[in-house]
């Protein structure tokens, strides 16, 4: 069992080996399903010159926004970076490099990275700025552009429940980019709300099989809401 026990004692231990200049993929969509404690640990470590791959870049003062404030990110690969004033400032001043990637292409680039596929063709972005300087190939009379896979040194993901083996289940739409991110890094670190005994999770309900997970920690989550919208009861 010891060889399969992915548990580590702390977020600090979980990010052992993270150094300046590395590429990290971070799961989440907006602030939903982000690895809050692992991001905070990246912040605490103060590592710099990071390339961060994530659909969004947090908000001012929370999530990946924390790393922006401390100038730890030199390049961001994302589909949407709006609603973050510090990000706007660094983008306009040229302090940060940004590779805007369509959301589905971003997801598939990460998936491809984890699945051993170096690149793939997609119609998304043909004839737009995204397609510039990319190889174009015609299949059945339609143009497609070649998009390259993404892999990383570390993936930081957030799950709901996991067993010691690192088998993970996500909760509701907090799943988003996390399963793909889990597959595409040399070291995948997962933080979850609850670590359960092996056998407690139904094998056929597992979203992320433990083979993708190297280190597992349990965290406390604030789960900040970006846009609280309600109806009257």
């Amino acid at each position: 069992m010891a060889g399969f026990d992915k548990r580590v004692d702390s977020a600090r231990q979980a990010l052992d080996g993270l150094t300046d200049g590395m590429t990290i993929i971070v799961g989440g969509f907006g602030l939903c399903g982000i690895p809050e404690n692992l991001i905070a640990e990246v912040h605490r470590r103060g590592v710099r010159d990071l390339t961060v791959v994530s659909n969004n870049c947090g908000v001012d003062g929370f999530g990946l926004g924390l790393l922006l404030e401390k100038r730890q990110i030199s390049k961001m690969i994302a589909s949407y970076v709006g609603e973050n004033a510090e990000f706007e400032r660094q983008l306009l001043s040229g302090e940060i490099e940004v590779e805007l990637t369509p959301q589905g292409t971003l997801a598939e680039r990460i998936r491809a990275g984890g699945a051993g596929i170096p690149a793939f063709y997609t119609a998304t972005g043909v004839g737009t700025p995204v397609g510039e300087n990319k190889e174009v190939r015609k299949f059945d009379d339609r143009d497609y552009i070649l998009e390259k896979a993404i892999t990383a040194d570390f993936a930081l993901i957030k799950g709901w429940k996991a067993d010691w083996y690192g088998n993970i289940v996500y909760r509701h739409t907090a799943q988003n980019f996390n399963p793909a991110a889990a597959t595409a890094a040399r070291i995948t670190v997962a933080e979850v709300e609850e670590i359960v005994e092996p056998g407690a999770l139904e094998p056929s309900h597992i979203h992320t099989p433990g083979i993708y997970v190297d280190r597992l920690t349990q965290g406390q989550f604030e789960k900040r809401i970006e846009k609280r919208t309600t109806r009257s009861a």
Binding site: Y80, T105, A107, P129, V130, Q175, F177, T229, T230
Partner: protein, 229 residues
């Protein structure tokens, strides 16, 4: 009279069919969910990984793990499913979504659409819009006919594109148009709007058939509908 945002949503909603899986963009498209015709069932897709988006939650129901692509708190309706971003965009790219409704800054007679970037202003990113326009075969663009006195229906888009040659149908506050053979074909007028006014406000080539009926707007807001009450 130009259509209100609600009337535009109402007109688009009349294109919904029983059993459709539908992706609604932010803005006017979101309002379409309030006008789902009675007696039909549609399933709303949200690209962060939710098929079967329901109403906004009550205060008691709010769950930070349950949001839509606009990052708003939502609920899931009966029959919903939740999945990864990879799966969500496979549905989009693979052409499984029956109808996509989204806004735009410009559309042209070649079916090009510009909706994500205005150079010189801040670029916030394209999100899922490029995947949606490339993957869907059935798209309706909703936008105002003009902005600041400038037509948004052009011979050639001036802004960076979201997709090329992918748009066939446009609903504006003045008209419903289709794009055929490098021209806008005027299919319907907003009630009280003349063909002359639409001609004057359309910069791209416009074909006007002999009969251009007024739009019919019959559905009242369906407040019992599953989304965006």
């Amino acid at each position: 009279m130009a259509l209100t945002r609600e009337q535009m949503a109402q007109r688009v909603a009349s294109e919904l069919r029983d059993g459709y899986y539908v992706n609604l963009g932010i803005g006017i498209p979101t309002l379409v969910a309030n006008y789902i015709p009675p007696g039909i069932e549609v399933m709303l897709h949200s690209e962060n990984g939710l098929l079967g988006m329901g109403a906004f939650p009550t205060e008691e129901e709010i769950d930070p793990d349950m949001i839509n692509a606009g990052k708003q708190t939502v609920t899931a309706r009966v029959g919903a499913s939740i999945f990864s971003s990879v799966e969500s965009f496979a549905m989009i790219r693979g052409g499984h979504i029956d109808l996509t409704v989204l806004g735009a800054f410009e559309v042209d007679v070649h079916g090009n659409i510009a909706s994500w970037m205005i150079p010189g202003k801040l670029v916030k990113g394209m999100g899922g819009a490029m995947d949606l326009v490339a993957g869907a075969s059935n798209i309706i663009v909703t936008m105002t006919h003009e902005k600041g006195g400038q037509s948004k229906l052009l011979e050639r888009c001036t802004l960076p594109l979201t997709g090329s040659g992918c748009i066939r149908r446009v609903l504006t506050d003045l008209a419903y148009l289709e794009i055929h053979d490098r021209a806008f074909v005027l299919r319907e007028r907003a009630p009280g709007v003349t063909v002359e006014e639409i001609k004057a406000k359309t910069a791209g080539r416009l074909v006007v058939p002999s009969d251009v009926p007024e739009m019919r707007l019959s559905n009242d807001a369906n407040h019992g509908s599953p989304a965006h009450a």
